[in-house]
């Protein structure tokens, strides 16, 4: 009974996968053609991106064509769905060698299923009438069956290749890739290249006449933004990471709710980028380093919290068991048996996070977070490319140094 049910489910899912693949192939293929041939969409990025719209009759046509194609492939070859869900069309007695006529019979009989809106399958899902009429059966593919012919001549491989191909093609036209422009217009940003290759470090310690901070000053600001955001974020993430570890909290209903809430919070806040928070806090507390620090801080809590929690979940449970057996309460057990195990990796994560936060501080500066990002934006907007070059060189060297040092320290402590 259970096996029958499983087979019917496989039959349904494999058919659905085949059909959906054909719908996608047709629609995506048509979209590629549509975007490429509609002149308003090319060279005009401000134009809203529109996928082709189909009317009701079009949809009915698509439905018919895709279902027929699906039935055709499922009758005469091993379709993608059949391959994915491990079923093949076999003779009614189980032999895998099915001749042309039973296959054709299956294709014709399947039309009956189409006309009756699936009635034969609904009545006997495991052994439908149309298959019996054609003398075939959809059976689980024997494991380790020898390959009859090379995979690239099989329907499922060709379908897979077509799916991949049409997806890449669609991506190509949607992202408006122009290799020609890349090669042809290489000298358009010539002034920029010149400026970048001759970084002007004369405003390294002295502020530029139009700026508040020198390059060095802005760099120090960014370093501290990253540092404070990391420290504060780690301080908040640390206690919550135990709440967000399944092996510590998920022992009772209350713990499970706490676990779900904590993990949910981490996941939601991790998916909201700092750049978004920076835009908000730039308005809330004013443009500058403070707004950027809060933005980095919020993201750090969630990112570190998740990493910390996962680390807590991967500890050796033995010491926890021992501390519990000795009569320790939850907090005592955490202090004595969990924290010693996770502290070094926690430190490593935190250092790594400082690294990331310094790099993010630039991006955050672009949208009002202050620091070296703001300086970079102002120089870029003013077209002062030699200054931009100086900022980029300074920043790259700093990041490289910090990366090197934190990597070295991380290696020591883990």
């Amino acid at each position: 009974m259970r096996e029958r049910l499983l087979l019917s489910r496989r039959r349904f899912l494999s058919f659905f996968l085949d059909w959906i693949s054909w719908v996608y192939l047709l629609y995506a293929g048509f979209s590629v053609h549509y975007i490429r041939t509609s002149p308003t969409l090319i060279w005009r990025p401000e134009e809203k991106f529109v996928l082709p719209e189909l009317g009701l009759t079009d949809w009915i046509l698509v439905l018919l064509v895709t279902v027929e194609l699906t039935l055709l492939v499922r009758s005469f070859g091993v379709s993608l769905g059949q391959r994915a869900f491990g079923v093949i069309l076999a003779r009614a007695d189980g032999s895998p060698r099915v001749g042309f006529f039973p296959r054709f019979g299956h294709f014709l009989a399947s039309q009956l299923v189409l006309l009756t809106v699936g009635l034969p399958v609904l009545v006997r899902p495991d052994r439908p009438w149309h298959e019996r009429a054609a003398g075939v059966a959809l059976l689980p593919r024997p494991r380790g069956a020898p390959r009859v012919r090379p995979w690239w001549t099989s329907a499922y491989a060709l379908t897979g290749a077509a799916l991949a191909g049409v997806t890449v093609a669609l991506g190509w036209v949607v992202t408006d890739i122009q290799v020609g422009a890349l090669i042809r217009d290489v000298d358009k940003p010539a002034r920029l290249w010149r400026g970048l290759s001759r970084p002007d470090l004369s405003y390294f310690f002295v502020p530029h006449p139009l700026e508040v901070d020198s390059i060095f000053g802005a760099l120090v600001k960014s370093l501290f933004m990253a540092l404070l955001a990391t420290l504060a974020g780690a301080a908040i993430a640390f206690p919550f990471s135990f709440l967000g570890a399944r092996n510590i909290t998920a022992t009772g209903p209350v713990g499970r709710v706490g676990y779900a809430l904590t993990r949910g919070f981490f996941n939601v806040f991790r998916s909201i980028e700092s750049i978004f928070w920076a835009s908000i806090f730039a308005i809330w507390v004013g443009f500058g380093a403070f707004a950027g620090t809060i933005a980095l801080f919020l993201h750090t809590i969630a990112a570190l919290g998740k990493l910390y929690s996962e680390q807590v979940e991967h500890i050796d449970p033995g010491p926890v068991e021992a501390a519990t057996a000795a009569g320790g309460n939850r907090l005592q057990v955490i202090k004595q048996a969990v924290i010693p195990q996770v502290l070094p990796p926690f430190l490593a994560f935190t250092l790594y996070r400082w690294d990331i936060n310094l790099r993010m501080a630039t991006v955050v500066g672009f949208v009002g977070g202050g620091g070296i990002g703001l300086l970079l934006k102002n120089f870029k907007d003013g077209g002062e490319w030699t200054q931009v070059g100086a900022v980029i060189v300074t920043f790259a060297v700093t990041v490289w140094l910090l990366d090197f040092v934190s990597g070295w320290v991380r290696e020591r402590i883990v």
Partner: protein, 255 residues
């Protein structure tokens, strides 16, 4: 009155619906050295863990000194656990922590939460730790990291940790399975010493029948979660051995 009474103890693991223990009943007198034997998966570990409720029994009772452990509130359970020491197959030490810190873990049931959180154990406990460590011959390793020690030394730290609890009952879950034969005997002798000199009741599960015969005052054999033998070590003859370990088993000596 018996020190420990196990009454119709049954444990069914929810995941997989495995019956680990079925209707296990026996009594242990104060000062006994009771050895549990049986194949892997026969329920020895589960039985030991039901005694201090590291594993919650599905039904049945565990009565220690007249109190039903299975009915205790979390707080009372922690107080009862103080009196039950435990030694583990994999030693269960925090590998990165010092030997001293691992040994002090045995005092968790006695110190206040804030003392444990700040790591400020009372002076008497530090003194107690010294005594426990010198008893297992590891005083000079007090500040070494636990993972710098050999397997036998790590298990001795585990014993010192149990000593810290000043237990009345000691549960030993395959204490020598991860050790070589020579070290096994030295560990078993520490358990024997606790049993003889401190009057601690010992409940130990062992793999080798020869060790069970040598150290146990009484043997209980489990098979598929049920008691198939309960008696003095001498009473296990060849037929009984085959019944416990299966027809194809051969007895291996550990000297």
């Amino acid at each position: 009155m018996a020190h420990l009474v196990i009454e119709r103890l049954t444990k069914v693991y929810e995941r997989g619906k495995v019956r680990a223990l079925t209707d296990v009943s026996f009594e242990v007198e104060r000062g006994e050295f009771l050895v549990l034997i049986g194949l892997s998966g026969s329920g020895k570990s589960t039985l030991l863990r039901c005694v201090n409720r590291l594993v919650e029994p599905t039904s049945g009772r565990v009565i220690l000194d007249g109190t039903d452990v299975t009915r205790l509130s979390p707080r009372a359970l922690r107080r009862t656990r103080r009196k039950i020491g435990m030694v583990f197959q994999q030693f269960n030490l925090v590998k990165r922590s010092s030997v001293l810190s691992n040994v002090l873990t045995g005092r968790l049931g006695y110190v206040s939460t804030w003392r444990a959180l700040l790591g400020r154990f009372p002076k008497e406990d530090l003194e107690r730790a010294r005594r426990a460590l010198s008893r297992v011959g590891l005083l000079e390793k007090m500040y070494a990291r636990a993972d710098e020690l050999s397997g036998g030394q790590q298990q001795r730290v585990g014993i010192a940790r149990a000593l810290m609890q000043e237990p009345e009952l000691l549960l030993a879950d395959e204490p020598v399975s991860a050790l070589d034969p020579a070290t096994s005997h030295s560990i078993m002798q520490y358990l024997e010493q606790m049993n003889r000199d401190d009057g601690v009741t010992v409940l130990a599960s062992l793999h080798f029948l020869s060790l069970a015969r040598r150290y146990g005052t009484r043997i209980i054999a489990l098979k598929d979660g049920q008691v198939v033998f309960d008696g003095p070590p001498g009473a296990i003859d060849n037929a009984k051995f085959k019944e416990i370990y299966g027809e194809d088993a051969e007895e291996v000596e550990v000297r």
